[in-house]
């Protein structure tokens, strides 16, 4: 049986935005390499990195995915390539003309900074990043890898426009994946407060069945068009999408209903309450006698609606979504507020708190690796290429660095696929092991240097 997912006693870093995970990450330390045997180090390294990378998949699956080859690129400067043909590097070898190859540009300052090492050991788990569920998590469409997996299994994810229900689908370069925006907003948004839940329940109970059906339809049906003309009219009127019919009266009623259902009456001022009640009244009367309504009923409701939303619009009002957006209220013009209210409406039918705001403790985990190109507006991303390492930079996010060389050695020894074992020359494997050893050495040296110079990384105490 698995221990606690976010345990505090034996902390494991997970692919999740949980606050327990954040706390564990904040007190994470490098492994003690002095008192432990090499095998212990390797075991811990492998266990702790595996707990982060694809803990939801079976060991055997990972064994099939593991490849010893670690991809990397070197950025080239076209100016340098134009100026030299490469012979300058062999110039004067042994006759006193050769320069230290690491210091090929002394005018640029420190050569070690100029030519950093390629962090190959961070790339051990690169094959995992190809998985669809991991990519969905990396694109910030889900709050954990497990949730991303659930989204895939439940059919909310499409690859190249087709529904893909296999979380283990290995993305190919150029594949585009899309997640239902409603699911993304649910996964990344703050949950409803107690008050919002309660008022939502009350609204659902109070609302007549026909309007409930309409609001449900507006919430779930993706193809319902948003009437852009409502934007200029009213602020939270666009809370729910109007029904697809062209009937202006129905559209107006839906807007009014959405406005009414998103308001908690107890939080209004006296003047707002007055406007609110008269709005409710005229909406009700128009609803009850839709077919035989007097000619002035529609413009009356229209006026009530705009009056009420105008009363709501002062930037300091509690129900104003602009203040919840983290934007300073003083610089928000009425047009901006209106725009924001249109984009981020109050709607109690949603499964997340509205107006939408990012969930707590999300920002320390927010990063998008370069092998993905994400368009947040449509909740879609393209997997551009496989992740690579480049000098001083790796694209596979991994929470631990000194560990990974050990993990790689552990895997190399055991997980080399037979097909590859036969194909690959053992000579190149030897090079990888040498790289590992060198990395270990380097990281130890860095550690010492940091201890001596009081580097910031070590100052970070727990």
């Amino acid at each position: 049986m698995r221990r606690k997912f976010h345990g505090l006693k034996r902390p494991k870093i997970r692919q999740s935005w949980n606050k327990y995970n954040l706390y564990n990450l904040s007190r994470l330390r490098r492994q003690d390499i002095k008192t432990r045997t090499f095998f212990q180090q390797k075991w811990t390294a492998k266990a702790s990195t595996r707990a982060y990378h694809g803990e939801q998949i079976r060991e055997k699956q990972w064994q099939h995915m593991f490849r010893p080859r670690l991809a990397s690129v070197v950025p080239m400067d076209h100016r340098y390539l134009a100026q030299f043909d490469g012979s300058e590097q062999a110039l004067g070898r042994g006759s006193g003309l050769d320069v230290d190859p690491s210091a090929n540009s002394q005018r640029e300052g420190n050569s070690a900074k100029k030519n950093p090492k390629i962090p190959y050991m961070n790339m051990v788990y690169a094959p995992m990043e190809r998985r669809l569920d991991t990519a969905v998590f990396r694109a910030l469409f889900a709050s954990s890898a497990r949730q991303a997996r659930q989204f895939v299994v439940h059919g909310f994810v499409r690859v190249n426009g087709k529904k893909m229900i296999y979380p283990g689908y290995m993305l190919n370069p150029g594949d585009m994946f899309q997640v239902e925006p409603e699911r993304v907003l649910f996964a990344t948004g703050a949950p409803k407060t107690k008050r919002q839940r309660r008022s939502g329940r009350r609204k659902a109970k109070e609302a007549p069945p026909s309007s409930e059906a309409a609001s449900n339809k507006g919430a779930t049906d993706e193809d319902v068009g948003l009437d852009l003309s409502t934007l200029s009219l009213t602020e939270s009127a666009a809370a729910a999408a109007p029904p697809p019919s062209d009937d202006p009266v129905a559209a107006l009623l839906t807007r009014a209903r959405a406005t009414i259902s998103g308001i908690d009456e107890s939080s209004l001022t006296a003047k707002q309450k007055q406007a609110f009640r008269s709005l409710k009244k005229s909406a009700k009367s128009l609803h009850s006698q839709r077919n035989s309504a007097p000619a002035f009923a529609v413009p009356t409701l229209e006026a009530e609606l705009s009056n009420f939303t105008f009363l709501l619009s002062p930037p300091n009002s509690p129900s104003n979504p602009a203040s919840a957006d983290g934007q300073s209220a003083k610089e928000a013009t009425p047009e901006k507020v209106m725009q924001q209210a249109y984009e981020n409406p109050i709607d109690s039918s949603k499964p997340y708190g509205t107006p939408w705001r990012p969930r707590d403790y999300m920002s320390p985990f927010a990063f998008i690796p370069r092998y993905l190109e994400v368009n947040q507006n449509i909740c879609a991303a393209v997997y551009l290429r496989h992740p690579v390492a480049r000098p001083g930079l790796s694209e596979v996010s991994i929470s631990l660095d000194t560990y990974t060389g050990d993990a790689y050695q552990w895997l190399l020894r055991r997980y080399l696929p037979h097909s590859i074992k036969n194909r690959i020359s053992w000579h190149s494997i030897g090079i990888f092991v040498a790289v590992v050893d060198k990395c270990k050495q380097i990281s130890c040296n860095n550690l010492k240097k940091k201890l001596v110079h009081g580097n910031r990384g070590i100052l970070y105490k727990y």
């Binding site: 994470l28 076209h78 283990g168 990012p358 927010a366 190109e373 368009n375 507006n377 190149s428």
Partner: protein, 333 residues
């Protein structure tokens, strides 16, 4: 844990306005390194007063986020602030394209009709990324046209949390987003080779690539924008700008012709191997369908009959697609 969450951890509950908010940009007391460094006297005071507070987690005062936020302008993040994992110094949160830059890329490629290669070189954005941006933007515009709601609030919140590459207006040079001339490390080049050669020989990159592997191309031809090298070379020779532009146009034209002729040849070969038969009842033309026959070699199935090139069901070779333990996840969509 809850003491930490109420203390230094409180900084991470909400995003920092217009900035990233990673663990490594705070010290153990929950203060931003950036704000401490920008006001050294404050830092000194705190260092003097902090150690007793640090030993006792209960007495940890609340972080000074409110103070930090109330200051007019935070200093921009440095490299150290962009590391989400304090223990791993090699992983950095790299900037993403800002909304305006994406719009600009779409505009250049779709509205101005520039090629992906040129847009990539101008804005220093990788070619595959340019293509992806155009593809995603096209879908976005389509959604707008169909009145499909966009996740604007989500997009705005995410882009505020992440480092972004802004769009710079014309007189300023575009800010480099990423290296566009990445050279993939070829497996053949990962070994050290002792190659004896005469001292007088000019041993260039082309020679070196031949030593590693006779098939390997030199770095100049393996990068994504080899034409930039040629342009730079001409600039160094002192050729006038008009002349260079003309030459580049000619080269681009030639390249396009080459690619087109290649495609044409491929189509011709395809056409030659394909035999089309039109239905007879319509007099041999004008039908909505046709038969297409292609030559298939039995030998494609290989010696054991299981080679991937083999076509159709072969006697004695069972289909294993319904067998337990075989992977049925599609490999491409």
């Amino acid at each position: 844990m809850f003491a930490w969450l109420k203390g230094p951890g409180e900084n991470f509950r909400r995003p920092l306005p217009d900035s990233t908010n990673y663990l490594s940009s705070y010290n153990s007391q929950g203060r931003l390194w950036r704000s401490l460094e920008s006001s050294p006297t404050l830092a000194l005071d705190e260092e003097a007063s902090d150690p007793p507070a640090e030993s006792n987690p209960e007495s940890k005062e609340n972080p000074l986020q409110s103070q930090v936020v109330s200051e007019d302008k935070l200093p921009p993040e440095d490299k150290q602030d962009l590391k989400p994992f304090p223990v791993n110094s090699d992983f950095t949160s790299q900037p993403v394209l800002s909304e305006e830059l994406r719009e600009e890329i779409y505009d250049r490629v779709v509205n101005n009709g520039k090629s992906v290669k040129i847009a990539s070189a101008e804005l220093s954005v990788d070619m595959s990324r340019v293509a992806a941006v155009v593809r995603l933007k096209t879908i976005e515009k389509d959604w707008v046209k169909k009145n499909k709601p966009l996740a604007k609030a989500y997009s705005k919140a995410i882009l505020e949390m992440l480092p972004t590459t802004p769009l710079t207006k014309f007189p300023m040079r575009p800010k480099m987003h990423e290296s566009i001339n990445d050279l993939p490390v070829h497996p053949a080049t990962t070994q050290q080779i002792f190659e004896p050669t005469s001292e007088s020989r000019s041993f260039t990159r082309i020679d070196a690539s031949k030593v590693f592997d006779p098939e390997l191309l030199p770095a100049d031809e393996r990068i994504s924008h080899p034409e930039l090298i040629e342009l730079e070379r001409e600039r160094r020779l002192g050729i006038s700008q008009e002349e260079r532009i003309m030459r580049q146009r000619e080269r681009a034209k030639k390249e396009l012709e080459r690619r087109e002729s290649k495609e044409r040849r491929r189509d011709e070969i395809e056409e030659a191997t394909l035999k089309r038969v039109l239905p007879a009842e319509r007099g041999g033309n004008g039908g909505r369908w046709e038969w297409r026959f292609r030559e298939i070699s039995v030998q494609d199935a290989g010696k054991d009959g299981r080679a991937p090139g083999g076509v159709g069901w072969r006697y004695g070779i069972p289909h294993e697609d319904r067998k337990k333990g075989h992977v049925k996840i599609p490999t491409r969509v």
